[in-house]
């Protein structure tokens, strides 16, 4: 496997990311496995918020730009997006072994935990406090994921389309999905198509 080359950046004048020799990276597939297990076990109601905090802010395996770009790819491909993202990262560092280690880390231990919870739940399903706790965690999880989006907003300042057009595109997506409940495929094709087309025109061939 070739050493990871820096991902393409959002705009030509962004400073180049740290070169591959000095920037942090996982030390082995086992490191990947346990890092992703730890990520997954912190991710109640979805792992995305934790992925951003751990991999970008704490471990610094990814820059904000790379996270946005990788997440876009993971989002568009069919399949669970966090799984796709771990697969991409694992493959980038250690090829197929890394991909298997990262996805395995995401799934193996959490699978055992969730089975145990399901068996426990079948004993306590009648308790209103249990259902209430599930609801409260759902609300918090929603806030956490929305905050990931808000935190990434400043990154769009460097975007080739300009900050305001980017904000408009993001707002259209929020309205279409959360308010009008447009099926995701249409939003990706429609708004995504327009955004990619405009960006294509701005980029030098």
């Amino acid at each position: 496997m070739a050493p990871p080359s820096p991902a393409p950046r959002l705009s030509p004048d962004t400073p180049p990311p740290l070169d591959s020799a000095t920037r942090p990276r996982p030390s082995s597939p086992a490191d990947l496995f346990w890092s992703f297990t730890w990520l997954a076990l912190q991710g109640f109601g979805g792992v995305l918020a934790v992925v951003q905090r751990e991999l970008v802010e704490k471990k610094r395996w990814l820059t904000h730009e790379e996270f946005l770009e990788d997440w876009a790819v993971a989002q568009v491909l069919p399949g669970p997006n966090v799984i796709n993202l771990s697969l991409m990262l694992g493959d980038r560092y250690f090829g197929l072994r890394g991909a298997v280690a990262a996805v395995g880390g995401m799934l193996a231990v959490p699978l055992v935990v969730i089975l145990a919870l399901a068996i426990l739940y079948s004993h306590f399903a009648a308790q209103p406090q249990v259902a209430g706790a599930l609801r409260g965690m759902g609300a918090v999880a929603g806030g956490l994921i929305a905050a990931v989006g808000v935190k990434l907003l400043p990154q769009l300042r460097k975007h080739v389309l300009g900050f305001v057009p980017c904000l408009v595109l993001a707002a259209v997506v929020v309205l279409a999905i959360a308010w009008f409940r447009v099926p995701l495929a249409w939003v990706l094709l429609g708004v995504g198509g327009v955004a990619c087309g405009l960006t294509w025109r701005k980029l030098t061939p």
Partner: protein
């Protein structure tokens, strides 16, 4: 969550596998988008799961640690338990539960991860093409919008009829603000949410 009595012959298991493989390719941006179709197949058409089993599978996975896709594992587990006579059915039921879990997880994961693996390799080697760069950069504002929208839907998703909606929004909003502005560990926030829920605030 009581088990329902069903019998599963091997063509049924195969049908279950094929159905989830099909759903795998259709679940763009997360298995959660395929939930309505899973309900149609498992509950309405085949009768392999009860409504309560179906919705609790989704709810437990939402609240449990780990990727949301694990709700699919719980659906397979419950189908297997039903076929084996419920948790009381002993080792036989547990084995069938694990079989169902394996089948639904392999079905939902294998096609999409295989495709994702080839696609990311291709993208990695063609990263300098104008079209690829335009796609990756152009999607950035869309992704930001999607994250916010997903958060809103999740926060709003499980409202209780007898508590005011603004309680839910307040909890989600404060959680979002805290995680945006501080470095506090996310588990503290989730714990606080669970406590507020157990006390009946949301």
């Amino acid at each position: 969550m009581t088990a329902i009595q069903i019998t599963m012959a091997w063509p049924d298991w195969l049908a279950l596998l094929l159905q989830f493989m099909l759903l795998s390719m259709m679940s763009v941006s997360g298995a959660i988008t395929a939930v309505p179709d899973m309900h149609r197949y498992l509950v309405v058409q085949q009768g392999w799961l009860s409504d309560a089993q179906f919705s609790s599978s989704v709810a437990i996975a939402q609240a449990a640690p780990g990727p949301n896709v694990l709700f699919v594992a719980l659906m397979g587990w419950n189908v297997g338990l039903n076929a084996g006579g419920g948790l009381a059915g002993g080792p036989h039921a547990w084995a069938l539960g694990l079989l169902g879990l394996g089948i639904t997880m392999v079905g939902i994961m294998l096609p999409s991860t295989t495709l994702a693996w080839f696609a990311t390799r291709w993208l990695h080697h063609n990263g300098q093409r104008r079209g690829v760069r335009a796609f990756k950069q152009g999607m950035a504002p869309v992704v930001v919008g999607l994250l916010v929208a997903t958060g809103l839907i999740l926060a709003n998703g499980n409202q209780r009829p007898d508590s005011p909606a603004w309680h839910l929004w307040l909890v989600a909003g404060v959680a979002g603000l805290v995680v945006w502005r501080t470095k506090i560990h996310l588990l503290w926030l989730l714990g606080a949410g669970a406590l507020l829920g157990a006390l009946g605030f949301v």
